[in-house]
Symmetry: C2
Subunit: 547 residues, 2 copies
């Protein structure tokens, strides 16, 4: 260790730990009257939010929750979720945000693996929990979350959430403790093996939040988030804390709208009624918003939309932009809390028309402050930043999960030599702009060359009759692998193999792709298989292609 | 200690420490071509800044500096200062930013007390250092900083800064180390006793910077700082790192202009030529900018100016606003890194005219995120937030100095029961807005009542013939203390005691002040005595009043 100068604190001095409770100080002070809205059901002020978080802390304590315990939550995106983001970690417990889209067997696996002590469950998920209750090995109690009228249940519930809160005091003196205490836990839904538990500490969440406030607010010509924005998440709160933005919005005192269950027409209506100005979602959801009944006729002018989770095709970005949306791409993953990269527009980019800005906006973006990011080859050597050469992205930042819960081997595979290995293949341009070309496992190896399935998907999606597309590599005797494309046709349009071959041949002629990148097979389908979080399920597509 | 859940990291995982080197990652990536400007002498790009910081690290290492050593810097505000802000802490050493306005004896005291190892000294301060050289007890070497032509010196200098940099490689692999290592050190210039050494760690500076990026960028209707701003500090870099803003600007990739020696006409010219949009200064400097030859005829439209150090009188704020400046008040002190509070404009404030916003803008402001702030009475009890009741401000935040260097007793006076005691008397309104009324030692106790000298100064300054004013309490047999006012008259205007008594009587009639707050004495002077950092020297004024 280097002999730097370290001075013990003076008597009485206080080394302020980084705790989630500190994220709640400023929003309430800045904008005590700003609203938290839960769909059409409830609205209250920041001042009330502050009181309700204290009531909830008392209710959890009364229900027997102690520091170090784990509280599971099964709910739609709601004000309750926001309250749990704060109250559960603030009493020193761990919040397990249960992925409600998993199968009952997987939910059971995660709840036992997490060693959940108390379960907060919305009426809609009572059947799910009732079904697995007998096999839950650590749960000691249940609390019911009801929107309208409480459903009957065979679970031995201790009470209903609102009722319990109303019985509790709104005074609670939140303790200080080690900033490295685990605050949240959720499970990633890999396409192979059991779900893996990703966890974040108070310190990591505070640092991710502080950095995101500056990153979202400052760099974007039109800042993505300002104090007078209205925020509505459209990525589930069970998944990486809705990308961490609820913490950011609360710190800033921004009006927040939680939409409940995602239904595209209701989301568009909420956007209109609550005057939402900032949201984030995956490309699949964006497409639903644009094509649903309510969305077709809606004016999305000025709706700032951060896209992540998978690459944003140019065609889709154009459609959104044509309807007035301001799109930005972000990059991150469950294990990275998630923010790593974000669209950065330089002066020269901002001078371009909205349409001309799109190629920059849909790129993976530039690493945000505090993120140390590089690409490496298979031997671990740095790959040059020429905008062409591919390497795996590896990262360091102060908010990366330090392992998978109770899976030391998987943790050691994620982390190698002090760098988190993302499994994403990218190039970096000389100015530091990152462009993800593919997942390591989704790169198609053909005739000794690598073809990026994402790039092919993007080119195919530019055809006006293509609604959506997925490309995978399938085994080929001659070439090793060859690409295969699954295509969904726009309603009322016609497509066949020859049309798309001719479309891609155009890109061959201008040197954008090589001839052998043209898929050997096109399959026209009604829907692209998706994972529980809305990503293209390439594993399933490959399996089905073999049948 | 509470039994929260703490999980050891996976094998190979990396717990990213908070180090100043990480503040340098993003600006260079975002805006490699943006400029760093040193007055009329030098300009270069962020890419060059990055290389020069590495050259400097090599030069310091070659000069014998090791981790834990202390490097003293005596310079005007310059690109070199910015380079030292990064390179010295980044090699694990401590940067002592020497207050060049202190007397030679005090400079000597601080340099011996800090145990400086290497001294970087600008030509203009060679006579000062030569004078004390024989009594420097720890210094092992000197480096000369030259703008134009090197002065002759009797110091055994190892070389000139630019020359040493040009001989060194621009490659340096900065090490990681404990984030609690001391990074910077400077001395506060109290009005009594020896200067006290205030120090900040890497962790504290990183957290202050991350928080300030969001705070300055997001909350202000017109954000104080954006990526496309042009920044010029007008508070010295030796004093609390120019309020920490150079770190903020570098992280964001903002164009930075360093003005060298402060001369009002040159500052205004630099503002005009470099298209500066954001600066910060103390009220005294603001007044100089408005009244100097170049300033009188200048258009300051859109120049965002953060005021701190002492209260901003409404009269001065009005003058600045009338010339187009956008003024904001901040509050902090040397010991707090410094940012604690900042003007916060709510929606209803932003709807007002620029003039009508001023009373809000000149207040102390609202505590920024992560700052836990309260007012207490003499017994340590919390004082109510009614906007009237006075108490001493005590604070917690992750970036407060943990003591004074080698002064455990003074450190324990600063910190009591885990709260840093600011010595400032304030009220807090029900929405959390803080208004400093005075320093504990400057409150005037008269007839059993407290009178705020700052409030009196503000009221007197509203008279159009008043250029500046200072109020102190002087002993009075009947009342205990009575206020005395020192007044500087606007050139070409007339003032006497009766005029000002009538002016204040107006405020008595509308209930703003009590009758006994009207000063017993007015002294009309050519200049108000100031401390070395430009604050009103009330101690000296009181002493002179007794003569």
């Amino acid at each position: 260790m280097m002999a730097t100068k370290i001075i013990p604190p003076a008597e009485g001095a206080y080394a302020y730990p980084l705790l989630i409770k500190q994220l709640l100080l400023s929003g309430v002070r800045y904008e005590p009257g700003r609203e938290i809205v839960y769909a059409d059901k409830l609205r209250y002020s920041y001042q009330t939010l502050n009181q309700r978080i204290r009531r909830l802390a008392n209710a959890l304590t009364a229900a027997g929750v102690k520091a170090g315990d784990t509280v599971a939550l099964l709910d739609w995106d709601s004000h309750r979720y926001l309250e749990c983001f704060f109250a559960v970690p603030m009493i020193g417990a761990v919040l397990h945000t249960v992925n409600i889209r998993l199968s009952p067997e997987q939910v059971l696996f995660t709840m036992n693996h997490a060693e959940d002590d108390l379960v907060l469950v919305h009426d809609d998920f009572l059947p799910l929990v009732e079904q697995i209750q007998g096999r839950l090995t650590t749960v000691k109690g249940f609390v019911q979350l009801t929107d309208d009228q409480a459903s009957d249940t065979s679970l031995p519930v201790q009470g209903e959430y609102e009722q319990l809160l109303s019985q509790c005091s709104d005074q609670y003196d939140f303790p200080d403790f080690d900033e490295n205490s685990v605050a949240t836990l959720f499970y990633t839904t890999g396409t192979t093996g059991d779900p893996k538990g990703v966890y974040f500490t108070h310190r990591q969440l505070v640092l991710h939040t502080l950095n995101a406030v500056g990153t979202l607010g400052v760099y974007q010509g039109t800042p993505l988030l300002r104090s007078d924005d209205v925020y509505m998440p459209i990525t589930p709160m069970f998944h990486v804390h809705a990308w961490g933005v609820p913490y950011v919005a609360t710190l800033m005192g921004i009006k927040q709208v939680y939409p409940g269950r995602y239904e595209p027409n209701s989301l568009v209506r909420l956007y209109q009624e609550e005057k939402v100005t900032f949201s984030h979602c995956v490309p699949t959801i964006l497409q639903m918003l644009l094509t649903c009944e309510q969305g077709k006729s809606a004016d999305f002018n000025g709706w700032k939309m951060l896209l992540g989770g998978s690459a944003l095709p140019l065609g889709l970005a154009s459609e959104a932009s044509a309807k007035g949306m301001v799109v930005h791409a972000g990059y991150g993953m469950s294990e990275t809390c998630p923010l790593l990269c974000l669209t950065y527009l330089r002066d020269e980019d901002r001078k371009l028309s909205a349409q001309a800005q799109l190629p920059t906006r849909i790129k993976t973006g530039t690493p945000v402050p505090m993120v140390d990011l590089k690409i490496i080859d298979a031997s671990g050597n740095d790959v040059v930043h020429d905008g062409e050469s591919l390497g795996e992205i590896v990262v360091r930042a102060p908010w990366l999960t330090q392992g998978y819960l109770k899976e030391p081997q998987k943790g050691a595979e994620l982390w190698q030599d002090g760098w988190l290995h993302t499994g994403d293949m990218a190039s970096i341009d000389p100015l530091g702009g990152v462009e993800i070309k593919d997942r390591i496992k989704d790169v198609i190896k053909t005739g000794g060359e690598w073809i990026s399935s994402l790039e092919l998907e993007s080119l195919i999606s530019e055809h006006q009759a293509v609604l959506s597309v997925a490309v995978v590599g399938i085994a080929d005797e001659q070439w090793g692998e060859r690409p295969m494309a699954l295509v969904v046709c726009e309603p009322g349009q016609y497509l066949d193999r020859k049309i798309l071959e001719a479309h891609l041949q155009g890109f061959v002629e201008i040197g954008r792709i090589n001839k052998w990148a043209i898929p050997k097979q096109f399959k026209f389908v009604a829907e692209i298989p998706k994972t529980s979080v809305g990503k293209i399920n390439k594993k399933l597509i490959r399996e089905q292609a073999l049948v």
